[in-house]
């Protein structure tokens, strides 16, 4: 079906440009006295945590930039909008930003919501840079869409790669069937497992993210005898529920996850036996305890401003703002089309908190992933860096 979308695109593109030309000018007009960045994130609803992570980091980055004189000498201002973790609301937020003349948008956080506006961004000629939508397809179809994180395909593959290099051949998976993130990672893990010759012996899932009990799932892992379980969930499930329950169910092997595990140490049960967290591995965009000065500077500044340790989403959102800065400076203007061209340049190198990288032809960074693990002395849980994988072999 490849020619078909091309055809539609061809017919649509000129129309879009024709109608958009005045809108773009409108956007450019007030740009003389500032650059406006639109942010779309889930500020209320089930994923409000991520909304907060994004808005705080953007706040930090923008205030840093403005303090340093802005971009191209212009101050940056931000319009925050709420997508309520709902695709239709995301589109509303997007349209509202565009109608206010915003041409550069940062968002949204989740793949589901972001995919609701990628097509529209292209049609409207508005640059969309998502900090954290990892679904593979986000950047593949649309020219105006970029992201600051790597795709699920990469993250799932790293886990499979790690399992293989650690010597496991039989593995299991526990994932959430109702969550795009979890399901997407499972799919990419499964695909990579096939290439690495891993044998997925057991797959269990949960029907929603509200599930509290994972004992049966891990009991099934125990009975199938696997010693490596890929469990792509979020920190607030891993910390209080999964790890302790898995150990209580008698599972002693490795539990591996992805960037959703970021922040887990703050979500463990005080007073419980935390040795359960040994042997838990995960992949992440960055490691907050990384000694890299850029990372330390960011972590310190964020802590100073918001009194908490930034998570990976914050780091990505922070990097995304700086990506915009670099692109605008390269383009010499904040005109969306020019910024798009600057971002599309695969040779540009960005160095941020989440590593030094450049974007590939689709608009997804090629960057390494940190493999981290938790370590526990029984009363506290800490994170330690195991490895940084730049490239999959």
């Amino acid at each position: 079906a490849a020619p078909a979308p091309a055809a539609t695109e061809a017919t649509e593109a000129p129309a879009a440009e024709a109608t958009e030309a005045p809108a773009a000018e409108e956007a450019a007009a007030p740009a003389g006295d500032g650059i406006t960045l639109g942010v779309i994130s889930p500020n209320t609803g089930a994923l409000a945590v991520y909304g907060a992570a994004v808005t705080t980091a953007v706040d930090l980055a923008v205030s840093e930039i403005n303090a340093a004189g802005g971009i191209l000498g212009q101050q940056v201002s931000v319009i925050n909008t709420d997508d309520q973790f709902d695709p239709a609301e995301t589109l509303n937020a997007f349209n509202s930003l565009v109608s206010q003349g915003v041409g550069l948008i940062l968002g949204s956080v989740t793949s589901g919501c972001t995919s609701a506006i990628t097509g529209a961004a292209n049609e409207e000629g508005v640059v969309l840079l998502t900090p954290s939508a990892t679904a593979d397809s986000i950047t593949t179809e649309d020219d105006y869409v970029f992201r600051a994180c790597y795709a699920d395909g990469f993250q799932g593959a790293i886990a499979a790669y790690y399992a293989k290099s650690a010597g496991y051949t039989d593995v299991g998976v526990v994932y959430c069937a109702a969550d795009t993130y979890s399901k997407g990672l499972y799919d990419s893990f499964a695909a990579a497992a096939a290439t690495y010759g891993l044998n997925i012996k057991a797959v269990e899932s949960t029907a929603s993210l509200d599930v509290q009990d994972y004992t049966n799932q891990f009991a099934s892992m125990v009975s199938s005898g696997v010693q490596f379980v890929y469990a792509p969930y979020y920190y607030d499930v891993i910390g209080p529920y999964i790890v302790t329950q898995a150990r209580a169910a008698g599972y002693t092997g490795i539990i591996m996850g992805a960037d959703g595990y970021d922040g887990t140490p703050d979500y463990v049960v005080e007073g419980a036996d935390l040795t359960a967290f040994n042997n838990v591995y995960w992949t992440n965009h960055y490691d907050p305890s990384d000694t890299d000065p850029a990372v330390q500077k960011f972590v310190a500044a964020y802590k100073a401003m918001f009194n908490s340790t930034p998570n990976a989403i914050s780091a990505l959102a922070y990097d995304a703002v700086y990506m915009y800065k670099a692109a605008i400076e390269k383009a010499g203007s904040a005109d969306p089309a020019a910024v798009r061209d600057a971002l599309a340049d695969t040779s540009a190198v960005y160095s941020g908190v989440t590593g030094t990288f450049s974007l590939d032809a689709t608009g997804t960074p090629t960057k390494g992933a940190a493999i981290l693990s938790f370590a526990s002395d029984g009363t506290t849980v800490t994170t330690k860096l195991v490895d940084v994988i730049k490239e999959l072999k």
């Binding site: 079906a1 078909a4 979308p5 055809a7 539609t8 017919t11 649509e12 129309a15 879009a16 109608t19 005045p22 809108a23 409108e26 889930p42 500020n43 209320t44 609803g45 089930a46 909008t81 709420d82 309520q84 973790f85 709902d86 695709p87 239709a88 609301e89 589109l91 509303n92 937020a93 349209n95 509202s96 565009v98 109608s99 206010q100 793949s111 589901g112 972001t114 995919s115 609701a116 506006i117 990628t118 097509g119 529209a120 049609e123 409207e124 679904a135 593979d136 397809s137 986000i138 593949t140 179809e141 649309d142 069937a177 109702a178 969550d179 795009t180 399901k183 997407g184 799919d187 029907a207």
Partner: protein, 383 residues
């Protein structure tokens, strides 16, 4: 006499709709290119349209048949997913290549109808327990059905979270399926309006016929209605299916208006206003047994929701109010409680707007208000 008065009514309704449409196309012409129509008004019309159909259709079961259904969005999900899948299949099968022309319109109409019919079939299934259960027990069953539908869709390999067949729902729906971009939403805004008008008319015709009379009788007293010769089982199941049909159609419109589908949007409750709980809220707010009320409530809910989140005037408010408005659900909750306190029977009660009787109704309304005032005085006395 009845006939001539009704003919009068039809003429009047048609006239007013025609005037509205002409006025609308005038607005469209004058603002159409300037962004706001395309970016704000047209998408809003689409959203209002499916919310209107959704709320009005639930009113058939809730307000007219008197059965609380807490899983109405499940039917909408069925409609949305089937319309999306059929359109994708049609595109892959080469029935249409671009979203214009007769072939596409045909597919579009086909998708909308199919969405309705499939939802109606499931509605039939849900209607069956309704024959044995009442009140809260039935509510739980419908809620259960809603959950099951969402759970099943989540687990379908071709319709799950990651979407339709290849890749994500997003891209494929937008590029190859029904999903209309901003420009197409303007082009096809007539589809949304026409479908809504037809649906609403169909519902009005339904409630103002023996069907409507029968189901209202069932609502008021089921035993008495069967003792009056009404086949209660038939009318109940039929109404469930009929109502589900429109929810399915609303789903198809949803699939047109959005580039992506996610089952979270059709759940029992979520962060937004499109969920089974809020549809019930719209119906009760508008008035159970008043289609006009459902329509108005749907529009109000949409408008309030949109304005609180995206309205520019919010920025002019004092900071503390802006801080509250950052939690839209909080605001609706308060608004809801207030509205219900002042209009416990909903905004419209069981009143239906009729253009023909508009002025005489206004007079009646005034009298009712007076009576009500007295009543509330009375209620205070009872305290």
């Amino acid at each position: 006499m009845i006939k001539s008065r009704t003919t009068q009514g039809y003429l009047l309704n048609t006239l007013v709709i025609a005037i509205l449409l002409i006025g609308f196309s005038f607005i469209k012409e004058s603002f159409g290119k300037a962004g706001d129509f395309k970016l704000i008004i047209a998408p809003s019309i689409w959203q209002c349209c499916y919310l209107i159909i959704l709320a009005a259709s639930l009113n058939l079961t809730l307000g007219f048949l008197g059965q609380l259904s807490l899983g109405h969005c499940g039917f909408m999900a069925i409609g949305a997913y089937s319309a999306a899948l059929i359109s994708l299949a049609a595109e892959r099968g080469g029935v249409f290549t671009e979203k214009s022309g007769a072939a596409f319109i045909l597919v579009l109409v086909g998708c909308i109808l199919a969405a309705g019919v499939l939802a109606a079939l499931v509605g039939l299934l849900v209607g069956i327990p309704a024959l044995r259960l009442k009140g809260d027990y039935l509510a739980i069953i419908t809620l259960g059905f809603g959950m099951i539908i969402v759970n099943i869709i989540n687990n379908l390999p071709f319709a799950g979270q990651e979407g339709l067949a290849i890749g994500s729902a997003s891209a494929s729906l937008y590029k190859n399926g029904l999903g209309f971009g901003t420009a197409l939403k303007v082009t096809y805004v007539w589809v949304a309006i026409a479908v809504t008008l037809i649906c609403v008319a169909m519902m009005f015709m339904f409630v103002r016929s023996k069907y409507g009379r029968a189901i209202r009788a069932i609502r008021d007293d089921e035993i008495a209605s069967s003792a009056s010769g009404i086949n209660t089982s038939f009318y109940k199941v039929f109404t469930f299916a009929y109502s589900a049909f429109f929810a399915g159609v609303a789903g198809a419109l949803y699939a047109c208006a959005n580039a992506t589908l996610s089952t979270a949007s059709f759940a029992f409750s979520n962060g937004g206003i499109l969920n089974s709980t809020f549809v019930v809220v719209m119906v009760v707010l508008g008035g159970m047994g008043s289609l006009t009320g459902s329509i108005v409530a749907a529009i109000i809910m949409f408008f309030v929701n949109y304005q609180i989140k995206n309205g520019l005037w919010v920025k002019l408010l004092p900071m503390w109010m802006q801080n509250i408005f950052a939690f839209p659900m909080l605001v609706y909750a308060v608004v809801l409680v207030i509205v219900i306190m002042f209009r416990p029977k909903g905004i419209f009660g069981t009143y239906e707007l009729s253009l023909r009787n508009f002025f005489s109704d206004m007079k009646k309304q005034r009298q009712n208000r007076l009576a009500q005032k007295q009543e509330s005085k009375e209620a205070l006395n009872h305290e």
